[in-house]
């Protein structure tokens, strides 16, 4: 059984424990009751120029790419001022353990 968390992530039972995994390669990104972003690799690009010359953002504005540490797929992105906390999303996956 798996529970969809986003287009790139889902929750599955791995070795009897609930884990958030990459949909593409099944790499585990931590337990389901913890934020998954710290387990991803982080690519912090200056927003300025990130998508071409038209990206004329300020110097402290970042494009954060959270990537799967196994297959390299981008799992999520967010715009952030340097130093601002990660955005945290939580999906109720209690049905996973109920199963």
């Amino acid at each position: 059984m798996s529970i969809r968390i986003s287009a790139t992530l889902e929750a599955r039972m791995v070795d009897g424990e609930g884990r958030i995994v990459c949909v593409s390669c099944s790499h585990p990104l931590g337990p389901t009751d913890q934020p998954w972003k710290p387990a991803a690799t982080l690519n912090e690009l200056p927003m300025k120029g990130a998508g071409g010359e038209v990206y004329t953002a300020g110097d402290d504005v970042l494009l954060r790419q959270f990537n799967c540490p196994s297959c390299g797929k981008v799992l999520d992105t967010e715009t952030a001022l340097r130093g601002d906390p990660f955005l945290i999303d939580e999906v109720d996956v209690s049905a996973l353990s109920d199963s």
Partner: protein, 609 residues
Amino acid sequence: MDPITFSIIRHRLYRIVDEAVITLKNVSGSATTNEGHDLMVSLYRANGSLLMGGVGFLHHLTSAAEACKAIIRRFKGDIHEGDMFLLNDPYTAALHTSDIYLISPIHYDDQLVGWSACFVHVYDIGAMSPGGFSPQSQDIYTEGFSSPGIKIIDRGELRNDVLDTLLNMVRNPEMVSLDIRSLIACNNVARDRFRVLIRKYGEEIVDGACMTLIDQSEQLLRDRLRELPNGKWQSRQYMDVNAEVHRVGLTMTKEDDHLVFDFSDSSPESPYSINCAYWASWGGLFAPLFPLLCYDITWNEGVIRPIEMIAPEGTIVNCRRPAPVSVATVGAIQSVNNAACTTIGKMLAASEKYKGEATAVWHANHFAIFLFGQNQRGGQSIGILTETFAGAGGARSFADGVDVGGEVPNPISRMANVESMEAAFPLRYLFRRRMKDSGGAGEYRGGVGAELAFVPHDAPDGGLHYVVSGKGTQFPMSEGLNGGYPGAPNSYLWVHSNEETAGDAPLSFAQSLESMPGEKESVTWGVYPIMGRDGLYVQWNGGGGYGDPLERDPAAVVADFEEGVVSEWTLRNVYGVVIDGDAGELDGPGTEAARKAARGTRLQREAAE
């Protein structure tokens, strides 16, 4: 009630609103209204609750409900058949002073049976800056005429003392008068058609159908919410004004059939007029909720019941009088809308059933530029660049965003033809076209925004002035979804093409920013001239992308490149696509190798913790 009668009454309510909108557009003389569609018409029940939300700017649907309730409270015992009321105070219900609500009670057999409410952004409201957006205002007192409710038509008779008081306080009173009369005509049509409906079916049956319709909407939304996953989703919007950064932070919690939007993590109210009052935030969150969660549900009070909002007083999303709010509609309200669009998009993307409804953010950097000055006919013109309504679509889970495709909070928004603008103002467009690279990259690309430039032309005063409320140059605000890039931010450049900076080089026929001679100065907030050999260049945002750009079909990237909406740099460095240098054709093996290398580079990054 038999289902056929119910269905007929439901559709008659839709048609009443549609006919009222047509009336509004036909009477108004403003391009903002009849071309940009900066308008709204809706029907309300006798207690002021939303009965039939119409088209136009959706964040007005709930605010106008509050306006109806404010009128009911203020004029209790003094509401008569044929009355009409005006309300535009943002601390009572309106979004900002220039969006005037005209509210008409609907009576049948001497009983109050409902309300019709509509708005347009009036030609002027007497704020410091012409047109209503007033970036230099430091409080509501300098943002023009403001009423928490006043009777403008008394039992069918226009109160000229009230109308003349308003017109005495605004620029171009004849155009504002036409705006007011378009609102009156709109309400007259809505009221008359509603009464015809009751005459045909009877008050009891129509009222029963209305209550059923509201209950039905509530049940349908609650059922849909139960089908969606429980959880919490966060989003954040940054707004830059004069180098100061303001945040709108949102945590949306969905539990069973209940949604809570918590904006507690938002900045304190700003000295700048990007703030919004409580009811404006309330409307702002419904603007994406109606189309994204209720695309097949009638927009009425039933949709509102399962929703809760937390917006602490004293923040940018619930400012206190007399904080300035004239730029709210493209400021905090727009950011509330963007933030809600992101969290709703994330929730939909987490659902197997509804993942196809998820969208990245549309047109989040929504700009506003008002032109004003003497026109080529010797009169005075004031008006918004209607390109402000021509946003770019966010990418979906199955398709690219629509280029210059509009915006979520106004399903009928559009921009005027270049010729309309040139007829209204003494200016000439040099170009207006889609903006390369502005759509957020992704497996599905965000729709691209656009760029334009114009110069004064046949201007008796040598040119014009303009008011720019230009947040959105330092931060992209159209967030991507599931790994997509955000759309590019905005840019506003004053091109000083005088002899000193440009010599004899002509600006008159430049076809690109690069070929516009002269010094280019970024302008974002305030009032500026465009005189003599000046030019104004505007670039506006694209929609957010969806998914990993390295997953995009390489043939689609090459097609974008050939069409001029993606640059060679972005094709190569963001999408990892390789093309044959001479022929410009896709190099399949080269692309595969480049993408493998790009993924390898990602793997070498440090863990995020």
